[in-house]
Subunit: 137 residues, 2 copies
DNA sequence: TTTTTAATGCAAGTTAGTTGCATCTATGTT
DNA sequence: AACATAGATGCAACTAACTTGCATTAAAAA
């Protein structure tokens, strides 16, 4: 459990462990606010949460997901999938294929400025069936 | 020029026209802050810019681009391409193919919650060659 | 066990974006 | 063309999300 932190040369601290746990027990991408709420019972300050999220992002434990909300959302970087996001209610559906490899090869071949790709994000946006129903009422 | 606004049933106002112009004369995705700066000589208030960006987004004149910065960036929705973004300096390279159609078909076929896709965003992240050089010094 | 290096908490500050409200203007109607 | 009206704008105040500085504490290296 703490191995991932050690392998990234991050000190293993209680705060980091509980933040990690949040990600390992959540399906959907989570915002800083949600993490703060969930770890508050362990007396972890919100500033620490923000800093933890930054360092996790930096070493590629988590990645950002643009949910088109005010805040930044994150998920485990080890998940190789993409999302369809409902722009009305924010509901998320994962789908289990990743276009990464194909696209990255194609890019690198043609790019002048970049010789490799580190990460990517693909989000699809729509309105889910329940929300369409509601708006028709 | 104002046709796009009319076709979206938005009133044609000076503020909206100059914001539109900003997008039509810019290569890279722009933040609200940049738009505010560029239209300030026309005495357009920043609140108006934020509201204009929202309504343009809503009617699909522009789309968000997640640059992994603090702020939201936008580009014309009519552009069908994707970006590679340097996470050090923020430099952007476009590439002129769009995975949209293929992926959307695949998704819609398998999805339980969504019956169509409205929009998507694909960004690739890396560090550009100049930044790699600099960091080695 | 000591020393070093990095993480944490608290308070205060900043940035990006939002809301309420009075006024004004673009556009449809007579 | 004049009028009505829905919607757009500007200003000031406000909020949300995140950041910084600094003194204290804890993890890991020596």
């Amino acid at each position: 459990m703490s191995d991932i932190l050690k392998s990234k040369k991050l000190k293993v601290t209680p705060a980091r462990m509980v933040v990690l746990e949040v990600f390992e027990h959540t399906e959907k991408p989570v915002s800083a606010e949600e993490v703060i709420k969930k770890v508050s019972k362990f007396k972890v300050d919100q500033v620490t949460v923000y800093r933890t999220l930054h360092s996790f992002e930096e070493v590629n434990i988590i990645r950002r997901v643009d949910m088109r909300k005010g805040a930044v959302f994150y998920e485990l970087a080890s998940l190789h999938h993409h999302h369809v996001i409902c722009t009305k209610c924010g509901d998320v559906e994962d789908f289990d294929f990743c276009i990464g490899d194909t696209v990255e090869k194609k890019i690198v071949k043609h790019s002048k400025k970049f010789s490799k790709i580190n990460d990517h994000s693909l989000e699809l946006f729509s309105v889910c069936k329940p929300c369409i129903k509601n708006s028709k009422k």
